[in-house]
């Protein structure tokens, strides 16, 4: 029994690392632009597809896929924000939500039409052996994916805190009007922010392609997870997202011990409702993105 719990604990931690990467871009966009990006799930799936097809047609390992997925997704995100979303920043929530929802309908439909709903899976020619440590089974590809995900998350942290662009983004979030007065091109920063969000979504998807089956029908569940993670951890808060990601990973892995794997979505939402009821600002709740 103990070993079962420990195994699920380890599974939860491995999953958690990936979940952090899933949510980090979503939290950034929400915190800085006050936009819930309903396309986030589809962007993750798109990243998965890009990695998958690069693997199938070019033989590129999905582990290096983020290198090209991220710039592509950044461009997509930047374009969407510049062209469309910048026109609704600051408008009522209903507008921004339905707009991104509508865009997601288009994106998702295009993916369905292009790739079909059939589940794809990255299948390595020589599969990795699973590591066995203290009777705990750790699949190698999961381990590497999680490590890479955490590396990317760290990269994100550096970007936000150490780079000029990152500081500009934080400035815009804290006080938009002052940022304008300081000569920051807010519209461009918004576009960059959304682009970064898309890039990290795509990267997360690329890494997830190693582990989970890929299909456009999975978009909604990724979006749901990203949302739950942000609420759990508190919005716009880097540590919060890390906390939330691991928390959700653990809750799901340990929770399915009780309820069975088909209920993992339900667990997530029940936790979400509970947190919203008790502490709407999330466990580490803060507003500025630091």
């Amino acid at each position: 029994m103990l070993s079962l719990i420990l195994q699920n604990l380890v599974n939860g931690l491995l999953l958690g690392g990936l979940y952090v990467c899933i949510a980090i871009g979503f939290s950034l966009v929400w915190g800085v632009l006050s936009i819930i990006n309903m396309m986030h799930g589809s962007m993750i799936v798109l990243g998965s597809y890009l990695a998958y097809y690069a693997f199938v047609f070019l033989g590129l390992s999905p582990f290096v896929a983020p290198l090209f997925v991220m710039p592509l997704m950044f461009a997509l995100g930047y374009g969407l924000q510049s062209g469309i979303l910048n026109r609704v920043v600051g408008k009522p929530i209903l507008m921004t939500l339905t707009l991104t929802f509508g865009l997601d309908l288009i994106l998702n439909n295009l993916m369905l039409a292009g790739f079909t709903a059939d589940f794809r899976q990255v299948v390595f020619k020589s599969p990795f052996d699973a590591l066995e440590i203290f009777q705990l089974i750790i699949p190698q590809e999961r381990l590497y994916a999680t490590i890479l995900a955490l590396l990317l998350t760290f990269l994100f942290y550096l970007l936000l805190n150490k780079s000029r662009i990152g500081r500009a983004i934080v400035a815009v979030r804290s006080d938009r009007d002052s940022a304008v007065l300081m000569g920051i091109n807010v519209a461009k920063i918004y576009a960059i922010t959304f682009g970064v969000g898309a890039a990290f979504a795509g990267a997360a998807g690329a890494l997830m392609s190693v582990i989970l089956p890929i299909s456009p029908v999975e978009s909604a569940s990724y979006l749901g997870k990203a949302f739950v993670i942000c609420v759990l951890g508190g919005l716009g808060n880097f540590i919060g997202v890390v906390f939330g990601g691991f928390a959700l990973g653990l809750i799901e892995s340990l929770g399915v011990m009780v309820t069975g794997p088909e209920h993992s979505v339900l667990i997530g939402f029940v936790v979400l409702m509970a947190v919203l009821a008790i502490k709407p600002t999330g466990i580490a709740g803060k507003r500025g993105f630091e």
Binding site: W30, S34, I36, I84, R87, V88, K91, P92, I93, L94, M95, L97, T98, L99, F101, G102, L103, D104, L105, I106, L107, N108, N109, L110, L112, A113, A220, G224, F227, V231, E262, H263, V265, L266, F269, V270, L272, M273, L276, A277, P280
Partner: protein, 316 residues
Amino acid sequence: MGSRSIPSWAFLLALMTIACLAALPFALENYAIRLATMMLMYGVLAWGWNIIGGYCGYPSFGTAAFFGLGAYTGAILLSQKLIPFWLSPVLGALACMLLAIIIGLPILRLRGHYFAVASLGIGEVLRHVATSWTDLTRGGMGINLPPMLGSLAGEARLFYYAMLILAVASFGATVLVARSRLGVGLRCIRQNEQAANMIGIDATRAKVTAFALSATMPGAAGAIYASWIGYIDPSDVFDILIAIKAPIMVLLGGASTILGPLLGAVAYLVFEELVWSNLLQFHNAMLGIIVVVLVLFMPNGAIDLLRRRARMEAAR
């Protein structure tokens, strides 16, 4: 503000419209009657959403949750032959009202995004429950309801009239809310909730009332839908698209107005029939394009657009 009594021409117009709608089935064949029934249903969903999302300003994505709950309430009770047909929308509405009150109290404390997504979550949870609780709902296999009347024409007319009654009731409820103290209170809450509290409005009570009222309409509609279509399953009646269509229709026609939801519902249905029946594979993408165009170019809906045009013309 002017006179507050409803002008007699408006009364007459409404009565005439209802009379025409009531006479409609005798002039149309079954397919058109079904289309009209769908239009009325969309109107009901839109009117329902308008109360919490339009007047009160809380962007609810719960329409699918209530539609589905109403559908399942009706379907389960009818398939066990526990109630007569006419009671199913009543009970569907009641179940939704209760759920809205229970869930509303906690989630209406949330603002903006949190409320929106929480309301979306209700539907997802209910869908999941409906899929898993197979003893009650037969899960993914869905529930079948046999036809009640012998003839197709008879069935078409029955459900048309059922939906028409519901639509008239929804319209009436909207008029009552819009012209009542509650309507004023909701508008105040939408514009400045803190100030609303300061002038004596019990915002929590008003919001929960609005949420509960707005839940009854999709609830009743769902119950009628279950009998009308004769088969429901979780992904059909809890479809997230229902939750997005309601606000879209209201946005299209004009939120916080009495006729806006109906106009939007009609316009939406016209689009759906004309455009999409030809583009099955890109159905969702077309909806997405409509949404994008709507939000970017017509955020206040058609009524507002027409009013502004009229004002600009008058100013020339």
